[in-house]
């Protein structure tokens, strides 16, 4: 003890002696809203009136300071001046955050980045404001498709489900305005219930790195964020009108935001979209129309150190499913697949008849935050979601207009997060989450429940830490634990219950037995741990290297556990398995990036290994009174995925730019040594862009999209006896379609720009050459060709 005191004394004497005033203070001045750096900010030390300015990168340095405490005033032409107290000891680094007042409207709408970083060590792809506009009449899936490594699993062309590095559905988590979407995402033909127009920016994390939103994003996370309102007196808005020849429809979307200097803001947004039957180059795709109406509103109060926001959105869409795809058993399948044209082609129309989907999604959120000195930013969020999914099949008699599937999924979530800056270079984020979910399958459909009634309780906790080792070197590590409890009431068919030996395996869950069904009460517990660790390193100014390892684990979804019956849109019987455990995934991703306006690129290889990966595959043919059906059963296996995504952009002449994208993923079932089904084929996109700010910001882009044939696929073909021909016919449900090439053209120009408003006209043509093609990842590829040529008009008014 004595020794220690002496040692301490010795140390302190040293520091007082060594106070020779060669310490320094340096760091960044950052926009509080989006983390962007602020060049041209002035920093004044009150004590000495010494002043410096931030350079182009928002960096400042006060050299030759003495150790001690300083009061520093930071000002910027577009910001409110603020004072900070800083303790300087040696070479100290400190970043200052300012409330940035946006200078003018265009910045908010085009360059404003109203988002924060979700992860430090995974390269994030973003679709910024200018880009979602191009997909205004499409869907979220269409917009995401423009990112390398993302493809989509389609059902026709209006149900577009994002596939990230080969994985989709329950393996992809979508965060809409801070809320994790609970919209029956387990279904391969359930598109995300988000209005693309309500998202100011969309960012994509290829992997499970964003632990604050959950640990089960085996495939990746999509974060859609709306624009933040500035803290100043302003009112602005945007209205867009879109029209397209294919589908002969249009979409209108409008948004208006009012903000005050005192921190209050509010915004309203709405979209209306209607399309009739879409057309392939040679025929009408009957019953493929869409009718969508969405609205969102926001009210909030924002100050530097506290604020709240209330948000509500409703999303409603009605989507027709290709009439010719609704078929019976294997005998119908043979004819439908072998026929070069769909068996049902009607005249163009706007009616949406069965088979169709009708989905309504309500989302309400209240969030409040407060900055506590010495503790950090604490935020509390409650959100409520209600998803009602109706699916209509072709039915008979009194049931004709009755839904075959009527699910109501209600979710309540409460989250408490704390974001603390422990020291200048260590940031820790921690949080707790609790969720209650109730699924109600309406028995009035007169069809046995596809997904049973269940209640689900979840509890999660996470901690993530970012540590800045050096100015250009960042480390990130995090962990999360989730507990899930499911209380299910499921009716099994007695014949199925016995054929699966469940009567011997799970006799304790039987509640009651009736003539041909058994009511059971499975109660399932899942414990899931997930973690992430990674680093990013910048060098030579432009170059950045990201490395990330993530461990994710996902509890099986209700469809994987409980499916038991005919799935009409797939014309197959699907079986789940009550004894499944969680999928566990390990992913290592590396990104090498060069950020440069003349020549920039990113190369992103990854390796992904998943234990107990749940796949669905055919096992046998089942005879029923309706004919023969192929039976597909969920099975757990081990899988590995390997891939690479490449992006590059080169400005090769004045106003000309060449963009390139390449993605490849290979997926294997390593237990059976065979390829995984529905892996996106290799694809490459190359685009030539001419943009001239002097001619009203004219932008012309010609894009070539080449999709290779998927050569690796499991063989799931089967044979069926046809009485008409008295022969056995092969039903080819496996062979992928041929490679294809599409040309797309896109252009836009600012027509009328005044100080207060801007009108932009866009014209585009997709599938310029009217190529007939079929897409391996379209579930309806057996029955019809994909979309033909489409002329698009887009009018956008910012005011």
């Amino acid at each position: 003890m004595h020794y220690k005191v002496i040692f301490l004394l010795l140390l302190s004497s040293f520091s007082s002696v060594s106070q020779n005033c060669d310490a320094s203070l340096s760091g960044l001045v950052i926009d509080l809203h989006d983390g962007s750096t602020l060049p041209g900010a002035t920093l004044i030390i009150s004590n000495t009136q010494e002043a410096v300015q931030t350079n182009l990168y928002g960096e400042y340095t006060f050299p030759n300071l003495c150790d001690g405490t300083y009061f520093i005033q930071v000002s910027h032409p577009l910001c409110i001046t603020k004072g900070f107290t800083v303790k300087v000891s040696g070479n100290t680094s400190k970043d200052f955050k300012l409330e940035h007042h946006l200078e003018e409207l265009n910045q908010i709408l085009i360059e404003g980045k109203g988002f924060q970083k979700e992860t430090e060590s995974i390269f994030q792809n973003r679709i910024s404001q200018a880009n979602p506009d191009r997909y205004s009449s499409g869907s979220l899936g269409d917009a995401l498709n423009s990112i390398s490594g993302v493809s989509s699993l389609n059902t026709g062309n209006t149900v577009v489900k994002p596939v990230i590095n080969g994985l989709h559905s329950s393996r992809v988590v979508i965060i809409n305005n801070g809320v994790r979407m609970e919209d029956q995402e387990w279904g391969a033909e359930h598109a995300p219930n988000i209005d693309i127009n309500s998202a100011g920016s969309i960012s994509l994390i290829k992997g499970a790195g964003a632990l604050q939103y959950g640990g089960n994003a085996v495939g990746g996370v999509i974060v859609a964020t709306s624009q933040k309102a500035p803290v100043k007196d302003t009112i602005y808005g945007q209205t867009q009108f879109n029209a397209a020849t294919n589908g002969r429809g249009s979409a209108v979307t409008s948004e208006i935001t009012q903000a005050y200097k005192n921190g209050w803001y509010g915004s309203l947004q709405g979209t209306l979209k209607r399309f009739g039957d879409f057309e392939s180059p040679d025929y009408v795709l009957s019953n493929t129309g869409i009718f969508e109406s969405n609205a969102a509103m926001r009210l909030g109060f924002n100050q530097f150190d506290y604020g709240f926001e209330a948000y509500y959105s409703i999303f409603k869409n009605e989507i027709g499913i290709l009439r010719a795809s609704h078929i019976g058993g294997a005998e119908d399948q043979v004819q439908a697949i072998n026929s070069p044209r769909p068996l049902i082609i009607r005249d163009f129309g706007y009616n949406i008849d069965a088979p169709k989907q009708d989905v309504t999604h309500h989302l309400a959120r209240i969030k409040a935050f407060r900055q506590f000195n010495g503790l950090g930013k604490a935020s509390l969020q409650y959100d409520f979601q209600k998803n009602n999914r109706l699916e209509f099949d072709i039915r008979r008699g009194d049931d004709t207009n009755k839904a075959s599937l009527d699910l109501a999924l209600t979710t309540h979530t409460l989250m408490l997060d704390l974001d603390s800056e422990v020291s200048g270079n260590l940031n820790v984020k921690t949080g707790l989450m609790t969720r209650y979910q109730d699924n109600f399958a309406n028995p009035d459909t007169g069809v046995r429940r596809l997904i049973p009634d269940y209640e689900k309780y979840e509890l999660g906790a996470y901690a993530i830490m970012d540590f800045q080792i050096q100015e250009n070197w960042m480390l990130e590590a995090g962990g999360r634990f989730d507990y899930t409890y499911m209380d299910v009431f499921k009716f099994y068919r007695s014949s199925f219950w016995e054929s699966r030996n469940y009567d011997e395996l799970f006799p304790e869950i039987v509640v009651e037995e009736s003539a041909n069904q058994i009511l059971t009460n499975p109660q399932l517990n899942f414990y899931n741990a997930s973690a992430t660790a990674g680093s990013n390193y910048s060098f030579d100014g432009d170059y950045k290297l990201f490395f990330n390892y993530s461990l994710a684990s996902r509890a099986p979804n209700p469809s994987e556990l409980f499916s038991e019956g005919l799935h009409h849109s797939a014309s197959r019987i699907e079986l789940g398995d009550l004894s499944f455990n969680s999928e566990i995934s390990h992913k290592v991703a590396l990104t090498f990036q060069r950020e440069n306006s003349t020549f920039g690129f990113s190369i992103n290889p990854y390796i992904h290994s998943i234990k107990d990966f749940i796949v669905i595959e055919p096992i046998e043919i089942q005879q029923t009174i309706r004919g023969n059906f192929q039976v597909w059963e969920h099975r757990q296996t081990n899988a590995s995925l390997l891939g690479i995504d490449v992006d590059a952009s080169l400005a090769f002449a004045k106003n000309f730019r060449f963009n390139h994208q390449f993605s490849m993923v290979k997926g294997y079932d390593t237990s059976r040594n065979q390829p995984l089904i529905n892996m996106p084929p290799v694809n490459t996109k190359n685009e030539l862009v001419y943009q001239n700010p002097k001619i009203h910001n004219l932008r012309l882009a010609l894009q070539s999209e080449y999709i290779f044939r998927q050569n690796e696929f499991p063989n799931n073909n089967f044979e069926v006896f046809l009485p008409q021909t008295e022969s056995r016919e092969l039903i080819d449900v496996s062979t992928p379609p041929d490679a294809y090439h599409l040309l797309n053209f896109n252009s836009n120009i600012d027509l009328n720009t005044t100080a207060k408003s801007k009108l932009t006209l866009g014209l585009g043509v997709s599938n310029l050459l009217n190529t007939s093609y079929r897409n391996y990842l379209n579930r309806l590829r057996y029955y019809a060709n994909d979309l033909g040529r489409n002329f698009l008009l887009n009018l956008k008014l910012n005011y």
Binding site: D332, L380, I394, V447, N516
Partner: protein, 185 residues
């Protein structure tokens, strides 16, 4: 710091609230399929024969794992014209639901097709039509030739293309497909 305490308390109150809000362990209602067809019965009667000959297929578990069960009451006589009727039933409900009525009410959206296997010496003729004059086929005539045997298949299509040239271009969705082994003696 007090605010944090407050937030923590609020969080756990919320937890309690959500955990308690749903304590109704009510058992869900059973769903018996409305539309399922379990049984198809073809009755063939000829003048002068006492009892009609019946061909029946029955699949009580619908899409479940058990296959349908085929039964027939006897062989057909050579050189005879039979009047045929087809009945479709749902036997999972009590009393049994006769779905033939629904099929006949929606005649324009349904059609039975008859497929005679090679070797079987019989011909079929539609016995009833829908309101547009296209075949419906819940009634038909079957004429046997010389002694032979083979398969006779009855297929009910829902929302087929009408008129059509047969199963191959009818499209729509198969509601029933039943192949019987038939002997003419």
């Amino acid at each position: 710091m007090n605010k944090l305490k407050f937030l923590t308390i609020l969080f756990f109150t919320g937890l309690l609230f959500t955990a308690c809000s749903n304590d109704d362990d009510s058992v869900p209602e059973i769903v018996n399929e409305d539309e399922v067809i379990t049984t198809l019965i073809v009755s063939l009667s000829a003048d002068g024969e006492a009892a009609p000959i019946t061909l029946q297929t029955r699949d009580l578990d619908g899409d479940g794992p058990n296959p349908p069960v085929f039964t027939d009451s006897g062989n057909l006589a050579a050189g005879t014209t039979y009047n045929g009727t087809i009945a479709v039933l749902n036997e999972t409900v009590s009393p049994t639901e006769d779905i033939t009525e629904e099929v006949e009410e929606e005649a324009d959206a349904h059609q039975f097709c008859y497929t005679v296997g090679s070797g079987l010496n019989v011909t079929t003729e539609y016995g009833n039509l829908d309101s547009d004059g296209n075949p419906l086929g819940t009634e038909f005539t079957l004429t046997t030739g010389e002694a032979s045997s083979g398969t006779l298949t009855f297929t009910l299509r829902h929302e087929p293309k009408k008129p059509n040239t047969g199963l191959a271009d009818a499209g729509g969705e198969t509601d029933i497909a039943a192949s019987f082994s038939v002997t003419v003696e």
